[in-house]
């Protein structure tokens, strides 16, 4: 029994098919019948529009979720980085202020010390030149006793 694929439409063959060798002609005929059979089955199959919509909406939802997560990550990362920068700036400012305060205190201490040193040297120099207030009386006492 010689099996021949059913042709649904044009019964005549393309002109150049006649010139082909039988094996090739048979293979092309089988191929055509196969494609047409597959196409007819697929074309008349029950449509799965609902599942397509669900799949697409699921993909859409997944895409949006991923985008939202990425956006949230980016924004929160940005905020975190910004916060870190602000905190670092605050710490640096506090450290600088502390250093300036310590330097000012040191300067004040140095100035005070300098003034104390000046006063001390003045006191020392003046006290050497001024005689003791009781010295004349002490001399009188010494003269009286010798007499």
């Amino acid at each position: 029994m010689n099996w021949k694929p059913k042709l649904t439409k044009r019964a005549e063959e393309p002109a150049d098919l006649e010139a082909l060798d039988p094996a090739l002609k048979q293979a092309l005929g089988d191929f055509k019948a196969s494609v047409r059979g597959w196409s007819d089955a697929a074309y008349n199959r029950p449509r799965t529009a609902q599942s397509m919509v669900v799949r697409r909406s699921w993909r859409l939802a997944a895409g949006w979720s991923l985008a939202a997560v990425l956006l949230a990550g980016t924004v929160s990362g940005g905020f975190y980085e910004h916060h870190k920068l602000v905190v670092a700036a605050q710490i640096a400012a506090a450290q600088k202020a502390e250093q300036e305060r310590q330097a000012a205190a040191q300067r004040a201490r140095d100035e005070a010390q300098h003034e104390d040193d000046i006063l001390a040297s003045v006191d020392k120099d003046i006290s050497r030149e001024v005689p003791s207030a009781m010295e004349p009386l002490a001399q009188l006492d010494d003269e009286g006793e010798s007499r």
């Binding site: 099996w3 393309p14 090739l24 089988d30 055509k32 196969s34 047409r36 697929a42």
Partner: protein, 182 residues
């Protein structure tokens, strides 16, 4: 007396074109992509585009030739977009060649003949897989859709000589595949 407007006439004409050629456009796209869902989507897009441009269709070529041209362009755009947007979806829904070869019409033939036919179909699919996009299009239009050379030339925008050259190379591939597997 019922008044029929020009728009209604055009809509009726378009409906009849859809009814006449929808299955054929789907079949061509299915054979080109081996993806049922994609073929359905592209078929929908094809008729949507045809509907939008129906007023500009002047009947210089047949409606089928015009529709086939739209389908081929949509298919090209689809693959171009897929290459450009590779991050969107890398997976393809195309069936493999073995699955595509399973489709044989139920004739009154023996199991052995069916097996042989299936093997031949698989070999032709293998050859088609190895063809360039243009060769495949020309081959499918000729040997599945049975378009005349002039129609294929009009559809693809190629000269008849180029169409013949593509067909010759495609047939050479199929012949080599059939010969190599014997």
């Amino acid at each position: 007396m019922i008044k029929v407007t020009a728009e209604e006439v055009a809509a009726q004409e378009f409906d009849s074109v859809v009814a006449r050629h929808r299955a054929q456009i789907f079949r061509f796209l299915l054979a080109s992509t081996r993806d049922v869902d994609l073929a359905e989507t592209l078929t929908q897009d094809c008729f949507l585009k045809a509907h939008r441009n129906w007023a500009s269709f002047r009947g210089e070529s047949s409606a089928l030739t015009w529709l086939m041209r739209i389908a081929i362009n949509l298919q090209k755009d689809h693959w171009r977009n897929r290459r450009m947007q590779f991050w969107r979806q890398t997976r393809t829904n195309s069936v493999d060649l073995d699955e595509a070869s399973e489709w044989l019409p139920s004739g009154e033939c023996s199991q052995e003949q069916k097996l042989l036919a299936r093997e031949r179909v698989g070999q032709v699919w293998n050859a088609v897989e190895g063809l360039s996009e243009r060769q495949r299009t020309v081959f499918l239009l000729r040997y599945v859709e049975e378009l005349e050379l002039a129609e294929i030339a009009q559809t693809t925008g190629l000269s008849e000589g180029t169409v013949k050259a593509h067909l010759s190379r495609a047939l050479g591939r199929v012949r080599a595949e059939l010969g190599g597997k014997r």
